[in-house]
């Protein structure tokens, strides 16, 4: 369970990279679920769509979603699937502050920075 942090401007490229990488490495096609288009907690948590990897793009602040993530994090763990959460630095900070159970069960938090075009 990993939280990936990157600037909003970089997010489409990161999403595309993630999907391509998962396709190449694991041969699975999956879609990125956006928080802004979710209807309920189970959908947010990917519990209504089985699969080994779920990518949730937290593209807006939603107290309901944050509560769901915090309270149901054990359910997510027990599915045995890998969860990748993508958020901007601001949203990630808020999320970590408001969801201590979620924070505690993340295996990693990674900051993604764009490649230096000059290759340094």
């Amino acid at each position: 369970m990993c939280l990936l942090i990157c600037d909003e401007a970089e997010q489409p490229a990161v999403e595309a990279d993630l999907l391509a990488e998962l396709d190449v490495q694991l041969g699975i096609e999956l879609r990125v679920v956006k928080a802004s288009r979710l209807h309920d907690a189970d959908q947010a948590l990917g519990l209504d769509t089985p699969g080994p990897v779920h990518v949730l793009h937290i593209d807006r602040w939603s107290p309901r979603l944050v509560n769901a993530l915090d309270l149901h994090i054990v359910r997510l763990e027990r599915t045995g699937a890998q969860f990748l959460f993508l958020a901007s630095p601001e949203l990630a900070e808020r999320l970590l502050k408001h969801a201590p159970n979620f924070r505690n069960r993340l295996t990693d938090i990674a900051r993604i920075v764009p490649d230096n075009p000059y290759g340094d």
Partner: protein, 411 residues
């Protein structure tokens, strides 16, 4: 003769070593898996007082001797509350007539949406599942009604219901001279209580000892929601002879209103485990039970124990991260550098989002000053950036060692 191609097969398949090890550490195992594999190390004493028996023994003894006891276990995230509940559950099984139900409420209901009465309903449904066929037939009507109350129902009406029939009148509250110590039980909670008792009656008539171990409510970080369930569901359970052991949010331990003492017969606190190899080898035993020595030596085990801060989940997470790092580097064993990588990774996880809270953290590191009385400090405790310990009955606080390590590097 045809030349033989170069095989891509790895001669020594390291996956066969790392995979089972990671599975033993992984959090995906259900509580049942943990019990089946005997991966739980029972503590030898109360973490706050080494002269007292361990918490699970105290809980089990109390439930056995006084039916209807209500007990609370308070502790931070990852401190081992679920483990204590499972150990209590296991111990209670020593009596043949005991009916013990471990219930993770977050598995049963969405706690954000659940209302008072939900815990009673969940207990009722679990107890129904424990009844024999003939017993079930006798209480099937109560079970059906309970399900309707729990999950609601859909009805088709020819005409829309008329809520404005003028019969309901106006509500007028006339204050009394006394304030109720506890709020009155809601009508629907009383209704669920009645059905629960009917369902439990075949067991209670046999004089069975019923204990429910309720997990998940501790994830309600804001204690107000927990209070609501305690004031309604748990109070409704009083007098039913059904005992309850409940995992409660850490913040209630620091609550000045004595809420836990008022609502529970027995309260136990689970602080982070002190890393002191001379006094206790508990942390090390947890790792050894999961087969740590297959992949690392004594110094690495000790380092992981030290930097876990005594938070059991962090102990396992650090080991897992170190193992993954070693595997990634094509190493057959976990070395010092892999542990170091894992410690910094965990420390950074605690560091992100620290923001303005860095002040109290620095004060705690430099001057050993920390008070859980203000909301900002309590937030640090809830997020495990600051850990609470107890040595010989004396409470003290310390910055999580992995976070302290990252902060030391950033100076």
């Amino acid at each position: 003769m045809e030349a033989r191609g170069v095989s891509n097969t790895v001669a020594f398949d390291r996956r066969q070593i790392y995979r089972p090890f990671l599975e033993r550490l992984g959090p995906i195992g259900s509580p049942r898996t943990l019990e089946e594999h005997d991966w739980i190390v029972p503590p030898k004493h109360d973490p706050r007082d080494f002269t007292q028996p361990p918490i699970h023994e105290v809980f089990a003894d109390s439930a056995e001797l006084t039916r209807g006891m209500q007990m609370a276990l308070v502790g931070g995230t990852g401190s081992g509350k679920t483990t204590e509940l499972l150990l209590t559950h296991r111990l209670l099984g020593r009596h043949a007539d005991a009916v013990n139900e471990y219930l993770d409420l977050a598995e049963v209901t969405d706690l954000n949406e659940a209302n008072p009465g939900a815990i009673l309903a969940a207990i009722g449904m679990r107890l129904y599942a424990r009844l024999k066929k003939a017993q079930k037939q006798k209480v099937s009507s109560a079970h059906e009604k309970l399900q309707v109350l729990a999950f609601g129902k859909t009805e088709w009406w020819r005409d829309p219901p008329d809520y404005d029939d003028g019969d309901s009148g106006f509500r007028v509250d006339i204050p009394g001279v006394m304030k109720r110590r506890f709020p009155a039980l809601r009508r629907e909670v009383q209704e669920v209580r009645g059905l629960l008792l009917e369902i439990a009656s075949p067991l209670l008539r046999r004089d069975a000892q019923i204990t429910t171990l309720i997990d998940g409510l501790d994830r309600l970080i804001m204690p107000e929601r927990f209070r609501q369930f305690a004031e309604q569901d748990l109070r409704a359970l009083r007098g039913t002879q059904i005992s309850a052991v409940v995992a409660a949010p850490l913040l209630l331990w620091y609550d000045k209103s004595q809420f836990l003492a008022d609502h529970f017969d027995l309260v136990r606190h689970l602080p982070a485990v002190l890393f002191d190899p001379e006094e206790s080898d508990f942390l090390k035993s947890v790792l050894l039970r999961r087969g740590a020595t297959e992949l690392m030596d004594e110094p690495e085990v000790t380092e992981i124990c030290r930097f876990s801060g005594g938070v059991l989940r962090d102990l396992l997470t650090l080991t897992q991260s170190a193992a993954t790092s070693a595997y990634r580097e094509d190493e057959d064993r976990i070395g010092r550098d892999h542990v170091r990588t894992a410690v910094l990774q965990l420390g950074r996880r605690y560091w992100i989002g620290l923001g303005s809270q860095i002040g109290p953290i620095r004060r705690l590191i430099n001057k050993k000053e920390f008070s859980p009385d203000n909301p900002a400090a309590r937030e640090l405790l809830v997020n495990r950036q600051v850990l609470e310990y107890c040595r010989r009955g004396r409470d003290f606080f310390a910055v999580h060692p992995a976070l302290a390590e990252v902060l030391a590097e950033t100076v």
